[in-house]
């Protein structure tokens, strides 16, 4: 009886571990295919509304649609060295000065100020470089990301539902 209970427990633990490792393998496989550590991103803020709203899912690839370097209009995933999470805005300037590297300026569609004036870049940077871009938005699915927001911050889901009903 005891050995039966023990083997059932072991099988349950193995099945949970299988699920976790399958999720991990799918995530890492997607990262390899997309060439970026962030193949799928859930939108949390309103800074790119109405294009991207909280709860939307974005699919990321390391190359933009045109296949070249960064261009104005691209939607890069920006990871600054001192931030633990990336953010996604639109490129509004690609400028070449005395440095070899292009200087990239970004802005959220729903923000009045660009990210340089809006203090989104660390250490008083006026521009970002290509090295701080870890991918570009290529695909989009609305609403399905609310599951992730619910797991991270349940209060946010209630706030989202209330704002939707009150519109």
């Amino acid at each position: 009886m005891l050995s039966l209970l023990r083997s059932n427990l072991i099988w349950s633990i193995i099945s949970v571990l299988q699920t976790i490792s399958a999720c991990f393998m799918i995530w890492k496989g997607a990262s390899i295919l997309a060439g970026t550590p962030y193949p799928v991103v859930v939108v949390i803020t309103n800074s790119m509304a109405p294009a991207f709203n909280p709860g939307d899912i974005l699919f990321i690839h390391h190359r933009p649609e045109h296949g070249g370097g960064v261009r104005v209009g691209d939607l890069p995933v920006i990871l600054n060295p001192d931030r633990s999470y990336p953010f996604i805005h639109r490129v509004v300037g690609v400028l070449h000065g005395d440095n070899e590297e292009a200087m990239v300026l970004t802005k959220g569609d729903n923000n009045e100020l660009n990210d340089s004036v809006g203090m989104m870049y660390p250490n008083g940077q006026e521009y970002i470089s290509r090295r701080e871009i870890v991918g570009f938005v290529r695909g989009y699915v609305p609403f399905l990301g609310w599951v992730v927001i619910l797991l991270q911050n349940p209060g946010r889901v209630i706030e989202g539902l209330l704002s939707r009903f009150m519109q």
Binding site: P50, A51, N53, H66, G93, L95, M103, N110, Y127, V141
Partner: protein, 231 residues
């Protein structure tokens, strides 16, 4: 085997499979619709270069350009039942003096054109929302959306350069771009070549022009003493 949890799991798995297939079919439908965006007019109507603070937030004095332009374009063919919005933007582009193969690009004006299905997300005033809904008349596609006719439009964003110099920059061109945001599927941008049913944007480039020199105080005074208009 037949517990509630297993049934819930199977139902959820079936739902995600079906949702994924439906999403693929919806995004594939975009490639079957025709796109033929055109630009009739894109030209500058005023050019000036000034030295000073480009806007309220500028921390230093630098040369910045004042440009007014006229645009007449038809992007209505970009709207399909799967289009959420079209982000149209005009850029100023010129070759880099420091790097022969590089082009400086800066957005000078942009607009978000929502489809009738996403008007409620556009953060419009109640009167504008009412007007948009009336023009759509309950249809998924409104033929009037995407027709841009603007005259003597001033810059929405200051045009500056990291070197602080812009006067006498040669081979500057204005270019219209667009980014189509679907409800489900792949985002797409303006293309240089025709691709299947999607045609490249016609006449999206203005003529090349040179930014003028900065007007000095002496030049401005000379104009007024000889009876010209005040700067």
């Amino acid at each position: 085997m037949y517990s509630s949890l297993v049934r819930l799991q199977n139902t959820f798995g079936f739902f995600t499979t079906v949702a994924f297939c439906v999403a693929l079919l919806i995004s594939a439908s975009d490639f079957l619709s025709d796109r033929a965006p055109t630009v009739n007019v894109l030209k500058t109507t005023q050019l000036q270069v000034v030295k000073g603070r480009a806007d309220y937030y500028s921390s230093k004095k630098e040369e910045y350009a004042i440009i007014k332009f006229t645009l007449d374009a038809d992007l209505s063919s970009l709207f399909t039942w799967n289009t959420k919005q079209v982000f149209a933007y005009v850029t100023a582009e010129w070759p880099s003096a420091q790097n022969n193969n590089a082009t400086n690009q800066a957005v000078i004006w942009d607009t978000i054109i929502t489809a009738p299905s996403s008007d409620h997300l556009g953060n419009f005033s109640p009167s504008k929302l009412k007007r948009l809904r009336k023009s759509a008349a309950g249809k998924g596609i409104d033929p009037s959306r995407g027709k841009l006719q603007i005259k003597n439009q001033r810059l929405k964003y200051p045009l500056t350069h990291p070197t602080g110099k812009l006067a006498l920059t040669e081979d500057v061109q204005l270019k219209l771009h667009y980014n189509v945001q679907p409800w489900v599927g792949f985002l797409s941008w303006d293309q240089n070549q025709d691709w299947g049913k999607w045609k490249a944007l016609k006449n999206g480039l203005s003529r090349k022009f040179t930014l003028p020199a900065i007007k000095t105080k002496e030049q401005a005074k000379k104009k007024t003493t000889t009876g010209g208009t005040r700067a």
